[in-house]
């Protein structure tokens, strides 16, 4: 079993807000390059890694009947903030993706200042009650009233920071008991780590299908990366790997899953039942515990976009439980990331040349 933890910690220590994924993309590209046959970037910045199918005896793929391909999508973008205005050196921000204002006061951030060689360290300030409207009481202070303090003088701030500059969470990754890791943006960089494990496993495996490893952009805002890369690559089937809700503080209903106890397989309109069935069979064969995750309408993953690319295709959702999603202290277990990677690799290896022809809707 490879030690993926240092890589995971490295990719949750850099920025990569939706639409501005380059810092994390560079690290992923570096890690994937030796693991794939071809690697390129899409027009929107998504990473496409192609691991070609193994030589097959007795089967000839032609232009008319090409080798089938499976796309595994893990989005690499992060939620965050963007500078909206600056008053007396205090930086007001708006959200990129769904940011919960409850977690912000006192949170360390990095301001990617366009007028500065170096990023600026900052903290999100909650103004005292006397500087807020009377009706704010003791409740959550809305994002529009919060501001970032960089510790610099107003003059220095206006020299370096501009409207539109990005602001990222800056909580340091920390290892915790039970093989857990906590930090920001584990949604969905933990899945990037799982896909990396899958690619490593595939080095020693034979697989008929071509494999597209996709680190997609802009999932948190528009699913823009998944829509466009799926159109460009035209895979036969596609699997989104993302986070699901872990049981934890305030979260214990059917939508939540224990961490460290395995991954979940989606059930719902975004999931093709035949892909679900194959995943389930493979998981049972290699004894990886899986739970069913019910997604009655949307999966809220790249699968929702990929399913609708071009003429449409069968999609699947595999999820890793995570506590405190979209906070700076997201928490996952390596005990779930490892099997997720292995399950992906075994699923890919299980795909026979005519798998797709065998799918018959009843």
């Amino acid at each position: 079993m490879s030690d993926i933890l240092p890589f995971l910690k490295s990719i949750i220590s850099v920025a990569g807000l939706s639409g501005h994924e380059t810092p994390v993309a560079n690290l992923i590209e570096q890690k994937w390059t030796p693991l794939v046959d071809e690697l390129s970037r899409s027009k929107l910045g998504s990473i496409h890694g192609l691991k070609k199918g193994s030589p097959t005896a007795g089967i000839r793929f032609t232009d008319k009947s090409p080798r089938p391909s499976v796309l595994i999508a893990t989005h690499m973008d992060a939620i965050g903030l963007m500078v909206s205005r600056i008053v007396d050196g205090f930086i007001y921000v708006t959200n990129i993706g769904s940011v919960d204002a409850r977690v912000l006061p006192g949170t360390p951030v990095v301001v990617h200042a366009s007028g500065s060689e170096e990023d600026l360290y900052g903290v999100i300030a909650m103004p005292p009650a006397n500087l807020l409207p009377d009706d704010q009481g003791n409740g959550t202070i809305p994002l529009k009233y919060l501001m970032v303090d960089t510790g610099l003088t107003p003059n220095e701030v206006s020299k370096r920071v501009r409207i539109g500059d990005r602001v990222s969470f800056n909580t340091e990754p920390v290892e915790m008991s039970g093989g857990c890791v906590s930090g920001h943006t584990l949604d969905n960089r933990a899945s990037v780590a799982a896909l990396t494990i899958c690619l490593e496993e595939l080095q020693a495996k034979s697989h008929v299908w071509d494999v597209w490893a996709l680190a997609s952009v802009q999932e948190e805002v528009t699913f823009g990366g998944a829509f466009t890369s799926t159109f460009q690559l035209r895979p036969t089937i596609a699997v989104a790997v993302d986070m699901t809700f872990g049981k934890g503080t305030g979260s214990s209903d059917y939508q939540t899953f224990p961490i460290g106890k395995g991954v979940t397989l989606g059930i719902g309109p975004s999931i093709h039942p035949f892909l679900y069935k194959r995943f389930k069979e493979v998981a049972e064969r290699i004894e990886i515990p899986v739970a069913n995750e019910l997604m009655p309408e949307h999966s809220f993953t790249d699968a929702d976009a990929m399913q609708l690319a071009a003429e449409g295709l069968p999609t699947m959702v595999l999820s890793i439980p995570q506590r405190y999603m979209h906070t700076p202290v997201e928490l996952v277990s390596m005990k779930d990331i490892q099997p997720a990677g292995r399950l992906l690799a075994e699923f890919i290896a299980s795909l026979e040349a005519d798998f797709i022809e065998k799918i018959v809707w009843g």
């Binding site: 008053v87 007396d88 205090f90 769904s98 940011v99 919960d100 204002a101 409850r102 977690v103 912000l104 006061p105 006192g106 949170t107 360390p108 600026l120 360290y121 903290v123 300030a125 909650m126 103004p127 005292p128 006397n130 500087l131 807020l132 409207p133 003791n138 409740g139 959550t140 202070i141 501001m147 303090d149 960089t150 510790g151 610099l152 003088t153 220095e156 340091e172 920390v174 915790m176 008991s177 039970g178 857990c180 906590s182 809700f245 934890g248 503080t249 305030g250 979260s251 939508q255 939540t256 961490i259 460290g260 506590r323 405190y324 999603m325 979209h326 906070t327 202290v329 928490l331 277990s333």
Partner: protein, 350 residues
């Protein structure tokens, strides 16, 4: 003039990163003892755990001046093990619960890192998100196999940072006062009987200073603390008239707060000292809040007191912000005042 260089910043960093929640101040106490011993004539740890330091004067009939800074910080106590690594906690001192969700904390003597999470935005209603959870509903999560004991203290996991003209750290209130007292001792003027109280339990009712004031029986006392700077913009663009103090304007001299009315002779003397020596200063806007001066003023037959604070933003939160220049000017105002004080001051007419 005394300067704030690398050694002083390093000491403040060590002090801020230590965990010293009211009632369990051991980590800061050990740092203070190590720092003061080479310079003090007497060092004593009292019954509550405060460090009491005495440095003799050279002449006779010198003024006996007490400086106080509190070693404790606001934080948490683990009160129940919910199993599977989740721990219920109570706050110690005044913490706004809105600063808790999404923060890393350190727990116990080994500083085990935990996190305070909450139900994710995806699973909550807009109505639920309008109110941050009460402390009762929050848990410290140490991971599925995490261990802690009821009674363990915890605090924010923030690490000290030097940023431009500022420092960002937890517990600047009042480690910056502690560091100031250590510098005053290292540079003690010979004309003064210097008494230092590194007090415990300030955040939960000025307890350590109450008995330290009795012990020293000083001629006058100065509480060196850190006070909020609420110098942020008002939401609708109006001028902010209720800022308490502002960063960058120098030491904040108190005139009155909810624990005491400061001795007018001492207030005037500090102001005159600042003007004469061209040290920037500001008056803290009179109003709420309290310092150990309130407790010391009422010890024995009464002690003339004044408070002087280094301003900081974001009080009792995971990360506060102060200016190094304000700290330097505070240290120099106090040091210069000590050197120039006339013993007759506290006998002059009120």
């Amino acid at each position: 003039m005394l300067s704030i260089g690398q050694p002083q910043i390093k000491l403040l960093e060590k002090l801020c990163n230590a965990m010293s929640v009211s009632g369990d101040e051991g980590e800061v106490r050990r740092i203070v003892l190590e720092e003061v011993k080479p310079y003090a004539d007497e060092v004593k740890v009292d019954a509550l755990g405060s460090v009491l330091v005495h440095k003799k004067s050279v002449g006779r009939k010198s003024l006996r001046v007490l400086f106080d800074a509190h070693m404790d910080e606001v934080g948490f106590m683990i009160v129940h093990d919910d199993d599977e690594g989740f721990f219920q906690f109570e706050t110690v001192g005044g913490i706004d619960a809105r600063h808790l969700i999404g923060k890393q904390v350190i727990v116990g003597k080994n500083h085990v890192v935990g996190v305070i999470g909450a139900k994710p935005i995806h699973l909550t209603t807009a109505e639920e998100r309008k109110n941050t959870s009460e402390v009762d509903a929050l848990r410290i999560d140490l991971g599925p196999e995490g261990k802690a004991n009821a009674g363990d203290r915890a605090t924010f996991a923030t690490k000290f940072k030097r940023v431009g003209p500022s420092i960002m750290a937890k517990a600047i209130d009042d480690r910056i006062g502690v560091a100031t007292l250590i510098e005053l001792l290292k540079n003690a003027p010979k004309n003064i009987e210097l008494c230092l109280s590194f007090s415990v339990q300030e955040e939960i009712g000025l307890r350590g200073a109450k008995v330290a004031g009795y012990y020293f029986d000083p001629d006058l006392a100065i509480a060196v603390d850190s006070t909020p700077a609420r110098d942020l913009p008002d939401f609708d663009g109006h001028e902010n008239f209720t800022y308490n103090t502002k960063l960058g304007l120098g030491p904040a001299i108190y005139m009155a707060n909810s624990s005491t009315v400061d001795d007018p002779r001492l207030v005037k003397f500090l102001e005159e000292t600042a003007i004469k020596n061209k040290i920037p200063y500001q008056f803290r806007q009179p109003g709420g809040g309290g310092t150990n001066a309130g407790a010391i003023q009422q010890s024995r037959a009464g002690v003339p007191v004044v408070s002087v604070s280094v301003p900081h933003r974001y009080t009792h939160s995971p990360i506060s912000v102060s200016r190094v220049e304000d700290w330097k000017n505070t240290l120099n105002l106090l040091h210069t005042a000590l050197k120039q004080i006339d013993p007759s001051l506290v006998k002059s007419k009120l």
